[in-house]
Amino acid sequence: MNRTQKQSRFAIACLKAVAGFVVLILAFLIGYIFITGLPNVSWHFLTSPAKAFNAGGGIWIQLFNSFYLLVLAMIISLPIALGAAIYLNEYATDNWFTAAIKTSIEILSSLPSVVVGLFGFLLFVVQFNYGFSILSGALTLTIFNLPLLTRNIEDSLANVSDDQRQGGLGLGLSKYETIIHIVVPASLPGIISGIILCSGRVFGEAAALIYTAGQSAPALNFMDWNPFNIDSPLSPLRPAETLAVHIWKINSEGIMPDLTQVSSGSAAVLVLAILIFNLSARFVGRKVFERMTSVK
């Protein structure tokens, strides 16, 4: 074996080691989170409210807030992202206007989430006077979510073959009718996967929420589902600390004695939820596709 071959072998061995190291990092992270965290997760932990000064608090309200904010943010951002993606993929021509729009979406997607959170604070909390509330949080998360969701939907629209569009137009449908009745349904599996993937990202976001949805989780009355009462779980104007914010909050200034247990348990629940989101994104998309096209 000559020198260059030896060199090649050596380099490739190094690359393998590097790749192995990256896998090890993930294995360590996931292992650490679950091994230290899951023993602290119990039914009681998931269903009881947090305690600020005593041990034995849970994360029920934070968990509920996280899901409620996620659902609200998705309901607000989906129509906007869908509309934007439809225009970008179906109508936009290659001109300066489209370029400007694409650039602004790129800028929005690369903005630090603190900056988005501060903008939400300035506009929704202070200017619109919504205070630290679910509403401010959901609107801020919408801004945070829009660029990625738009891009995901745009990609799945682009994956629909042009034959489908020509079929619709050939049958005499207008362009918009073709899009709404043919292209969007055909890309539904991709859109659903995109929504679930974005959900994972929104679910774990904290920096954008600290100054919009607030850092406190007041007690809720789970018998009262009237959204206009302030202690109802559905009330959009109550402050709502999410699970991700909770982890940050107790680690920066928490004083409960079982701080490590609570935060490792919360981290395990958070990562588990995101793992479920990521896995189901593939699974659900494929299932929807199979059902819609009867392709097995």
């Binding site: 790749a19 990256v22 225009y87 729009i101 989430s113 603190v114 009718e177 774990g204 490792s264 995101i274």
Partner: protein, 311 residues
């Protein structure tokens, strides 16, 4: 007869129901897009107007802000100026970003090369999901692990409190790794197959092909990936804030407590009153953050244009 013709003409000239529906749909989707654009402009205008207030309303000079090393808005420096020197945070932010990128890039490129050139099958089966999972882990969880693993490790190995630039670098290293890996993989996949075939046919070894042909051809894409990783590191708030120590001092060494733009922002915004100097100074930090984010975007665009030109 003429009357009827005119009526018919009128009917034909009118837009059909479908055409109106078409216009409505087009306008609807366009307005969604314009809304996004308005949000982006809104963010820039709002943050800029608040951030510039420090300089124009409170009369702090740019020089004091960017070169002062004493940060305690509301009090005065020994020489009698307002203590709003943001240099410690700016240095902290740049230091963690650059160190994390330096540490991450070789690992990321190595992993990406393994995934595309050496073992594409294992790459797609194991490493692809691994990078996706790493991207998905929320930043507070990184911060929590940093706090409970990295900080004690740094404390025991290098001394000090364990909070500081070094801990921040380690946390950011793991956080930006998957971003750089996945984008580098995309750019390596974009290198045409016949480049590799031509190189191998000339008698180059696999490594020579990777080093001298594939990586060279993919350089613009790899640079873009690194810049994206740096942008993520620069803007990352909570994970860094949890491990860096949050002391607005010039970093003496890598293990002394320091702070970044984002850490001071998240820690301080809640404790200040809107419109006060303390608050305005924080908005100026946010503006620096925003400008840097725009700058990273610009760099990506420029690399893209240069890279495209070469092909």
């Amino acid at each position: 007869m003429i009357m009827e013709n005119q009526k018919l003409a009128k009917q034909l000239m009118k837009k059909s129901k479908t055409a109106r529906y078409e216009r409505f749909g087009r306008l609807l989707s366009l307005s969604a897009l314009l809304l996004i654009m308005a949000i982006v402009l809104g963010i820039i205008v709002f943050v800029a107007s608040k951030g510039l207030g420090t300089f124009f309303k409170d009369g702090i000079s740019f020089k004091d802000f960017f070169t002062g090393t004493l940060w305690n808005p509301g009090t005065k420096t020994p020489s009698g100026q307002q203590a709003v020197g943001a240099l410690p945070m700016i240095v902290g932010s740049f230091l963690v970003t650059i160190l994390a990128a330096l540490l991450s890039t070789p690992f990321a490129i190595g992993t990406a090369v393994y995934m595309t050139e050496i073992s594409p099958k294992r790459g797609a089966k194991i490493l692809q999901p691994v990078t996706e999972l790493l991207v998905g882990i929320p930043s507070v969880v990184y911060g929590f692990i940093g706090l409970s693993v990295v900080v004690p490790f740094v404390r025991n190995t290098f001394g000090g409190s364990g909070f500081g630039i070094l801990s921040g670098t380690f946390v950011l290293f793991v956080m930006i790794l998957p971003t750089i890996v996945s984008m580098t993989v995309d750019s390596l996949k974009g290198v045409p197959k016949f480049y590799r075939q031509a190189s191998l046919a000339l008698g180059a070894t696999k490594w020579q092909t990777i080093w001298k042909v594939v990586l060279r051809a993919a350089t613009p894409g790899i640079l873009t990936a690194v810049v994206f990783g740096m942008a993520r590191a620069f803007g990352e708030a909570l994970a860094v804030q949890m491990v860096i120590g949050n002391a607005a001092l010039m970093p003496q060494n890598l293990t002394s407590p320091a702070s970044t733009l984002t850490s001071v922002l998240t820690a301080g915004m809640g404790n200040t009153v809107m419109g006060s100097l303390q608050n305005d100074a924080l908005w100026s930090l946010a503006l620096v953050l925003l400008v840097m984010s725009l700058f990273f975007n610009l760099v990506v665009h420029m690399i893209g244009r240069k890279g495209a030109f070469k092909k």
